[in-house]
Symmetry: C2
């Protein structure tokens, strides 16, 4: 089965997925076998907060890496970051309330918040990430207007779709403003472990000492999306709220089978070694994509320089439309995402593309960018 | 790890779980191995409607067994029935709208609907299942009151918590009334395959020829809850609605790893053979529980006679409270569910207990019911 949206022989610069050749390793296969030795954990309803061993492992890792002192009751295992975003939308907002996001932001998050009927407000970015003065102006405007922001959803580190990373001084300012305006920060941090040039900056969660911040992590980018497995950290009260949801109570802990497999896989250090390998792999892929853009893009095209994650954000000349590039590129066997889907107002992304370097092998990346260069030249 | 709520040495007549000794079989273990041979299906994001092979298998089985002609686009694989109920609550109701349920009904479904802020209305049952005249009166009252019922959520077959099965003539009447009042029937049918005495009655879905009915199935009762895997069938339009949810779009198909394992397991007939074995096992367990109730219950206690599923519903004398029985039984090492949680108005279940026979071995069931008899005698 081909991943959706990818035709046979099409090169995908569209999918924000791990390289499919990395999904199954001998160590992972061995962990699957070990998980089967505990059928009452792997195959039964799990405790609502999730697999106990996995929570112990993950809180330990996060405490070490982010300088935190999380206790077990500050984490819930979730069925991918989707599950966490959906619970946030349900528990932290009511219909018609205001949610602030970066502009652009992750398309499917916009979709989930829209399903919950909230009002979305976007704050523009520059190369240093979201612009703090614009953030402050938005919070002020919403507060004055009587529908103050409840949630700020952000992907501060190796942002999807732009690949940008929010500068550390901006993070401090944003924490201060969020406190002032009573906004919960939801830090979607699923790319944190994929830092290629330097360690990822300090997290919102660490800066705010966990107060009014929820941080979401996932195994979808650094292990396998098919596991449907991630986590969310927050105050013990916040986690108790998620655990008390009807869906949690009915379904039990998230993905017990996957969670036990990953608990077995992570315990001896196999996952962290795997991530080390992915960092090397994707760093090279990123360099390949950036090199190819340098070589093949016509004048008037610019792009971001991601220090981690999966994405490069391309800005086209004002006469060239992302949708046209997407369509023509598809005809020539290159899949990519046009910018429009990542904005609250689609037109704001009319001249942008999102390219990924995680999925396609390097020679395909170079070939695809060559085709893309031709397409843009034709349209310019 | 003990399942939540069960202390060491406690006998559980509380958990509606499969017997834990049935969870892992050699055939299942072999299917896990085969699934690993398709990492791009098992470990990647899946197509949004779910695993293609599993949909093909399940629609074939359901068409054969329920006399239907489902096409692939009429099914979505879900992360357990929880996922389906949650999507129904989201897409078929808005805050404050009316949902009708049997009284009593599955406690966690009440919880999910409450999370979505709907108004719940219960319709009483007798031994033939929900009482149709009461259903009609409720629909009429809600329509006249200006907040007509949008959804009727029902567990018609081997009902949780009562073990009752809705009579076939009542099903026909209910379909007629639901049409008349424009109500979508949500048929939670997760116990259908666990029919011990005779085949399960015709489904709502079959009676209504799939029009305005959603039917939910699950692998949690007949294979392993830890898979987080189930399905929902409906019209192609209804399924497209679920597939179009933000959560589906973001997370991809439900539980790809579990789905591929089960697709491999079910294809050669191993799951259906497993269910044959479960039917024999649980039929004996049911007979053990009913025999023990006959032997140990004092006068004034009555109970239902389930023809399938996991549950027996006990009605205590009017002077004996389920909560007291639950507490005293727990002190003597017997876990069970008091009736209150299964009602919109807890007091309606003050004199009821739900007992399960799926989880505990037969000698434990007999011992537990003996203890229960003593407790009730003391409290009477």
């Amino acid at each position: 089965m081909q991943p959706q949206g990818v035709k046979v022989n099409t090169i995908s610069l569209m999918l924000g997925h791990p390289d499919p050749t990395t999904l199954l390793t001998p160590e992972f296969q061995a962990a699957v076998g070990r998980a089967m030795a505990s059928p009452r954990v792997a195959l039964s309803y799990g405790a609502e907060p999730g697999n106990v061993a996995l929570i112990e492992y993950l809180t330990g890792k996060i405490n070490r890496e982010q300088g935190l002192a999380l206790k077990a009751d500050q984490m819930m295992i979730v069925a991918g970051s989707t599950h966490a975003v959906d619970m946030v939308a349900r528990l932290y907002t009511r219909q018609g309330e205001s949610v602030v996001v970066e502009s652009p932001t992750y398309a499917d998050t916009l979709h989930i918040f829209r399903d919950h009927g909230v009002e979305l407000h976007g704050v523009p970015m520059d190369d240093g990430g979201m612009i703090v003065t614009e953030f402050e102006a938005t919070l002020k405007r919403l507060a004055v207007g009587g529908n103050p922001a409840k949630v700020f959803y952000t992907i501060p580190t190796f942002h999807n779709p732009t690949g940008r990373t929010l500068a550390e001084d901006r993070r401090r300012e944003i924490v201060r403003l969020a406190r002032e305006y009573g906004v919960t920060i939801v830090e979607d941090d699923v790319y944190r472990d994929l830092a290629y040039d330097a360690p990822a900056p300090v997290s919102f969660f660490a800066l705010a000492e966990g107060i009014d911040v929820l941080q979401i992590g996932s195994f979808s980018k650094t292990l396998a999306p098919g596991l449907r497995l991630g986590w969310v950290i927050g105050s013990a009260d916040a986690i108790a709220g998620f655990v008390g949801c009807g869906t949690t109570q009915m379904g039990g802990g998230a993905s017990p089978l996957s969670a036990q497999i990953v608990a077995e896989y992570a315990a001896p250090g196999d996952w962290e070694r795997h991530v080390d390998g992915l960092r090397e792999l994707y760093q090279m892929r990123r360099d390949t994509l950036l090199g190819a853009l340098e070589r093949f893009m016509p004048d008037g095209v610019s792009w971001t320089m991601p220090k981690g994650g999966f994405f490069v954000w391309v800005t086209l000349p004002p006469t060239v439309y992302g949708k046209d590039v997407k369509r023509r590129a598809a005809e020539r066997g290159v899949a990519l995402a046009a910018g429009e889907g990542y904005f609250i107002h689609a037109a704001d992304g009319a001249h942008n593309l999102r390219l990924t370097y995680s999925f396609a092998p390097p020679e395909d990346i170079v070939r695809a960018v060559g085709i893309l260069g031709e397409v843009i030249r034709e349209l310019a």
